[in-house]
Every structure is written in C-alpha cells, then in structure tokens.
Symmetry: C2
Subunit: 476 residues, 2 copies
C-alpha cells in the first residue's frame, strides 16, 4: 500500500462494486440486518444478495445460506457483514473462498471492547489478508458512494451526491454531519464510517479521496490515530492540492475518557494535534457546524488575497454585530477610501453611515445597494464583502408576501414595492455568481433570521446575527 | 417616573391603546407609510385612522389631513409617526392638541445624525412633555404588543404571542431575533425597537416588563446607555425576580465605530460592561443564538442545583463531543456511582460504555434507554441530564419513515421496529414533561442534525453536534 495507484485500485471494490452480498440480512425488523438490506437495495443498481443461515427469502428476494452458495457465475465484489462478532471469522473465510474483494464489517465487539475483541479482529484480518480483501470497520456503520448510489449502511442514510468526501471515526456524528449537509444543500461523493480501522486507516481514505477528481473538499472526524507519523506524511501531500478539514475532539479529560470507551482510541495531547495539523496544512474545526461552514466556503468562494473586508447592510445593528465578529477573528474592517465616500454621497440619502459598515439607514432604493456593493468589489482596497440582510431577496420571506396578498389592487397585482422585491429576488443569485466570477473575491450574503448557512442556487447564505457572523467570518 | 406604578400606567397607552392613528399612512407602496399602515391594521382590533395631508383614502379607509381632524368623540391613544423628520415637531403639536397619550416615532434624522438632529429631537420632546406624551424612538421600527395584537411597526413583523419581553436598540437585529424566536416556537408579550430613546430609556422598559405578570424572561440588545448608574439601579431590582439577558456588542474598535455611526451611542468599555452586568445580575449573551438558547432554557427547565451532568446517548461520538463541550464550560461530567454501573449491567448489553457518557453501543432496546435515564434522574449525584439522539423520536425523521414505506407488509403495516419508533415518538414529549416535573432537574434532548434549538410540544430540542452541545451546556 505504498504506491498511491494501489490505493485507488484497492479501494475501488468498496465504492464501485459490481454486486454485493448482505450477510445477516433478515426479515426481522428489530435487527440491524433488516435496515441494512433495505438500505443496500435503495439506490444501488447491481445485484444485492441476502445471506441468512435460516431464512429462505429476505424482503422478497431469494436468500443464500452462505456467500459461497451464490452461483459461481455471479461474482460478489463487496460483502456487508452484520452478524454477531463470534461468527465473523467464519464468514470472512467464506468471503475469501467466494473471491469477495472488500468487506464492510458493521458487527461490533472487536478492538473497541479490549483484548478479547482484538484477538478476534486479528483472526479476521489474517484471513482477509490472505485474499487481499479490503476491510472497512469493524464496528462501523458502513459507507456511501455516489458513483454507484450505494448505501452499504446499517440504516437509511439521508445523503445527496456532491463534491465532498468524508471519513468519520464516529458513525453517529458522521451521519449527523452528512444529514446536516443534506439540509444545507451539501452533497457527498464518498462517506465512510471507518470504525476500528483494522485494515484501511484514516490517512488511506484521505489519500484515496485526494486522487479522486470528483472530490473537491475532504473532511474527517478523528478520535485518535494508530500511526501519527504515517498520517502526517500521507495527509500533507493531499493538503497541497485540496482542503482537508478535520474535527478532533478531546480537549478535556472528560472527552478523552469518553473517546477511550467509545472507539478505544487514545485521544492524545490536544496541543500536539494542533501543532501537527498545522504542519500538515490541515484546517481544524471545533464543531460540525464549523466543519460545514468551512466546506461551503471552499466550495463556493474564491480564496481572498488578504483580510480586508467591507460590510454593506440595510441594518445598522447587523453591521455592528458583523464588525465585532470580523474584528474578533482578525479581519480588517477597513476605513472607506475618501473617493468612495464621495461617490456614495451621490447614491445614498444624506443620513447614510459614511463609513464601513456601509448602512444607507432605511433607504428603500435597493438597486443603489447593489451598485454600492459592486463599486466596493472593484476597489483594490477590499478582499471580501459581506452583503448582509439581502439574502432573503433571493426568496422574499413568505410571511411578507402573504401579508401583502391582502393589499393587492383590484387587478390582483402586488404593490410596486413588493413586486420590486420579488423581481430583485429572482435576479439575486445570478448577480452574486457574476460578482464572484468577475471580481474573484468572496461575497457572503445572509438571511434575516438565525439559520445555519445553506446553499441555495449556489449562493452561500449565512444568518445575519452574532454567531453566524462568526461562522461566515471564519469562512474568509 | 420614579415610582414603579407610574411606569405601568404611563406605558400602558403604548401597549394597550383604544385607537391608533398612523401619521404618514399612504397608498404609495414605495414608502414606509404604506407598510406601516398595513401592519397596524393587521391584528389590532380597535380603530386605525390613516392621516395623510394629500390622500383622501388610504388602503380603502377614510384618511384625515391631521390627527386633529379625527372627530372629538373618537379619541386616539397612540400615534405612529412615519413622515420626514422636519414635519415631526408640527405633528407632535397636533398630537398634543388631540390628546394623544403616546407616540411611536419611526421617522429618522434626529439624535443619530448629530447636533442638528438633536436640536429637532429636543424641540419635539419639549412639546411631548407638555402633554405627558410618552415617546418611543425616534429613529425606531416600532413595537409589538401581544395584549392588543398590535403591530405598531414599519413592516409586517413575524411574531407570535408568548412570555418574552424584549427591548432592542437595533431594529434590524431586534426583528431578526423576534423572527428567529418565531421559527423556534418562542413568543413575545412585548417587543420594542427603542431607537434614540429620547424619552423612555432602556431601563424603563425593563422595569415595566418586570412588573408584567405575563412576562417570564426579559431580553435586551444594547449598543450604549444614556445613564449607566440609573440603568444598574433599576435593572438590579428586576433581576431579583426575573432573568434579564442582554446582548451588548462593542468588544472591538471596529464595532465601537459602527455603533457610533448607527445609534450614536458610546460603546463604552467592554470590560466595564462585563463587571456592571455581573453586579446587576444580568446574563450577557454574545450572539442572538445564545440569547434565545438561554431564553428557552429559562422558559422550560428548572434551575439545576449544581453542575453535575450525565449524558445518555446511542452514539459514542455524540457523547464525546458533548463531554468535551460540557467540560469546556465547567460542567462536571461525573463518574457513574458503582451501584449504577451494576444496575445498568442488567439492562444493557455487555458492550455498553460502563461510564458517563452512558452509551449502550447500538442496543435497539429503546425502553432500556428511558429506564436508564430515569434511574440517573433519581440519583442525588446528578443535577441535569443530556438525553442525546432521541429528540427525533418525538418526530421520527421523515426520510426514515418514507424509506420504510417501501417495506410495509401486505396489510400495509410498518415493520415492528418502525412502528415502535413511531409509538415512542408520540409519547416522548409527555415523558420529558413528567421527568422535569417529577425530578426538578433540567432534561435536554437533541435532534440528529444541526439545527437551532426549537420548542416542540414544550420540549427543548438542541442539535447533537458540537456548537449546539455548547449551546445547551450554556443553558445549564
């Protein structure tokens, strides 16, 4: 596994199998084997063979007693194993004999439970190695692969296709991040819950993702590493080409104890991880919200040249909170050049703020805001722009429109202002796209209420208020 | 205004007027006078009189040239003024003559623009004082009063009734918080955008809210104070009875500059505010998300006796992130008593974490989780419990149910597990209510994905992941 082309070839059966078997598939809906087979059948286009020692049919399909009973002319590339740990060694032997190329071992009761489990895991791996079978897990939730629409997963995973690849040592947090990504409009090319990493290490997945041209941003949730040096060496090659963003909990003793009983990993020194991540060019996120904020920033925004920002907003108080959040994060809320103030005096009413944040103080001439923002983007003195309180123009709040419904004229038309809002709203995403493309500077827009940032029509919206200002500031 | 019963009586015409006039009401939808009259008419049950010097009818109603032209037998308690600042003095004189008791001055161009505006403001206030007219603003957005369903506001405000009272020196941030509250299920008894506070000071509103038996939690957004000493003296009497939670931006120079151009206030020393708030018993929130997190905590949860917490979760990685968040905030993630470990050995499979976080490691016997949580609540050693990853049981994720739809049996029934999930889901809120009532300890539940905490059926749900763990930890 020293050459990178090996990694690509060897992990391919995991992500692009021709056919899969679910060993432990069952009609008993109280068992994980039920939700695993139903998930595996949901999307994947190739054959899915249920394997169950007792049941003849599983969810309407012919079941096999063993993977070896699947006819010889029907090869199985990937086996998903969801049976009690004591039977896994025998089943791995069956997989070896069938010529299975990769296994997802969902079953728990291996390294994470201590010495006895570790012995079982070693026994399983000894067989797998004989046949060069790649193993995900054990004690994992499975994986998602966009290329074959494969949910080799223990329950129905809410995921959409996209340019992110993600490996997680926590199945639950991993699933929550993938699901939150779904809600935010962020899609995944690959997601792997890697469990005890008996075979493939976290750095192997990251290396593999680095080679995949469809993958634009790489994410990981790590509780502890088996070989820190190997990790750094492999990952620092990837960060030269693609952003790698990682959550690594364990700042406190309480979390270190929880990690040890969860994944059996050593949390390690938090400071050491900080140093190592920095050396390897890794971006460290503290929370899953931050992780996805960064991800969205990298997906949509150009990298700013420097830290000089301007804020444009119809709300003075939005500007105050945003300026505070920016300055706390060492962004420079610049003084406006004198020439810009003179120019803005011509397009805004006299009461405008005459500074940064640029606040026209209740002016309802919305095109003037857009003009001002574009003038600011043209300045050499700016590296990025916060365009706050206009996000909803890309979808005027339903309640506003609903209210204005009562006040339509006799011909059923909205008043001029509401209609103008609706018109601007439909043009807003295109405008932002053009700005980003033309000026190659980050343009961050916001919505009126507290919301996690979402991707709508490819525009990154964050919430206007406090912590989300911090969120979008971090993106820059 | 020294006696508190004065405050009650004097602010009453603001919140419970018999009739209102909108001075500057217009059919021209490009002006704020249009959205102000339509908002005022939306909900309020008493008469709303449009006043416009030129238009004969406004949104279908007879309009008056002056508030004085409204017939004598039709008194006006509250006038909303939304006209250019230069005409406000004359209009205030008209209000005095009509016997108006309170004015909401939305018009801008007063103290916030400097010396000239301040002179105008003084002139206006001199007239108002003659008639003891209470003034909100100028340069404000208006107010909401649940008792008369009154939106004396410059645009349709999305707000629901509830036990919160809120005064904000930032109209936009205020509106965003009220709207975010709406999305989270948090309602307001009163909301005031107080603008330049020419008459009623922030501490007067807080004092008034303190006397209102319907108000359970008081919120404020403050950029700067006119009289810090008066503020402390009044507010510290309120905090003895009700929680007062305040956002005060201005930690950085950039924000202090933005404050000065926005509200004309002096940001003051951030450290000084920290000390003063502490002395007055005020809880300081850094962001609007935090503000609403605290609010929801106070609304729903008993105060914990101490800082000892237990975490129960089906997801080890959820437990790790939560333990880290708790410990960072000085919550004590306690060691489980030996007797509890012995008891849990009987109800969980052998692979359970045998510690805190309590993680049954993939066990699907959900009633066991509930039993364990209740046993933990009964312990003297615990002050609060995080019950993570079960929030969705109060509304099993739609996508899970949708997926399971394909696998219904011939009679159209769900499988046993899905049905069990649906059953538990419907009982979950009642269970949480009973626990909180019976054990008088905070019980915090969570949803599977990143979401801001919401109130659903009176249960406080937070997100499972990183920063929301911090959010719910802060609540405790």
């Amino acid at each position: 596994m020293n050459k990178t082309d090996d990694i690509e070839k060897k992990l391919d059966p995991l992500f692009n199998p021709r056919a899969i078997a679910v060993i432990g598939a069952t009609n008993n809906s109280n068992k994980w084997g039920f939700s695993t087979i139903t998930s595996a059948m949901d999307g994947f286009k190739g054959p899915v063979y249920p394997v169950n020692i007792r049941e003849k049919k599983v969810v309407g399909q012919k079941a096999y007693k063993s993977v070896k009973d699947i006819p010889e002319n029907q090869p199985v590339d990937l086996a998903i194993i969801v049976i009690p740990s004591v039977y896994v060694v025998q089943v791995m032997q069956d997989c070896l004999e069938k010529g299975v190329k990769a296994c997802v071992v969902i079953s728990a009761g291996f390294a994470e439970i201590g010495k006895e489990g570790l012995a079982l895991q070693d026994e399983m791996m000894a067989i797998a190695r004989k046949g060069d079978i790649r193993v995900v897990g054990p004690n994992c939730m499975g994986l998602w692969s966009a290329t074959s629409e494969l949910r080799a997963f223990m329950f129905p995973l809410r995921v959409k296709s996209g340019p992110i690849a993600f490996v997680s040592q926590g199945g639950n947090v991993g699933g929550a991040i993938v699901g939150s990504g779904y809600d935010r409009g962020v899609g995944f090319q690959r997601y792997v819950s890697c469990g005890c990493t008996a075979d493939i290490q976290i750095e192997d997945y990251i290396e593999h993702f680095g080679l995949d041209p469809e993958v634009k941003v790489i994410l990981a949730y790590i509780e502890g590493l088996n070989d820190g040096q190997r990790f750094i060496e492999k990952v620092k090659k990837v960060t030269r080409k693609k952003p790698v963003i990682i959550i690594k909990p364990g700042k406190t003793e309480a979390a270190a104890k929880a990690i040890s009983s969860h994944s059996g990993a050593l949390a390690g020194s938090n400071t050491l991880y900080d140093v190592v991540f920095k050396q390897a060019g890794i971006i460290r996120a503290d929370t899953s919200e931050e992780l996805l904020d960064y991800t969205m920033g990298f997906l949509l925004q150009p990298l700013p040249k420097n830290n000089k920002v301007v804020i444009v907003t119809p709300g003075g108080s939005y500007g105050v909170l945003c300026a505070d959040a920016c300055a706390i994060l060492d962004l420079d809320v610049i003084d406006l050049p004198a020439k810009t103030i003179t120019e803005f005096d011509k397009i805004f009413p006299p009461r405008w703020s005459r500074g940064n944040p640029v606040d026209p103080a209740g002016d309802r001439d919305f095109p003037a805001y857009f003009k001002a923002a574009e003038m600011l983007l043209q300045l050499d003195e700016t590296d990025a722009i916060f365009f706050m309180g206009f996000g909803d123009l890309s979808g005027v709040p339903d309640d506003f429109i609903e209210h204005m419904e009562h006040f339509k004229d006799a011909d059923g038309n909205y008043d001029a202002f509401t209609q103008a809002l609706l018109n601007i709203g439909s043009e807003f995403p295109q405008l932002i796209h053009r700005w980003i493309k033309q000026y190659k500077k980050p343009v961050l827009t916001t919505t009126f209420t507290q919301e996690t940032p979402t991707l709508e029509e490819g525009v990154l919206h964050a919430s206007l208020t406090g912590s989300s200002c911090q969120g979008i500031s971090r993106i820059i």
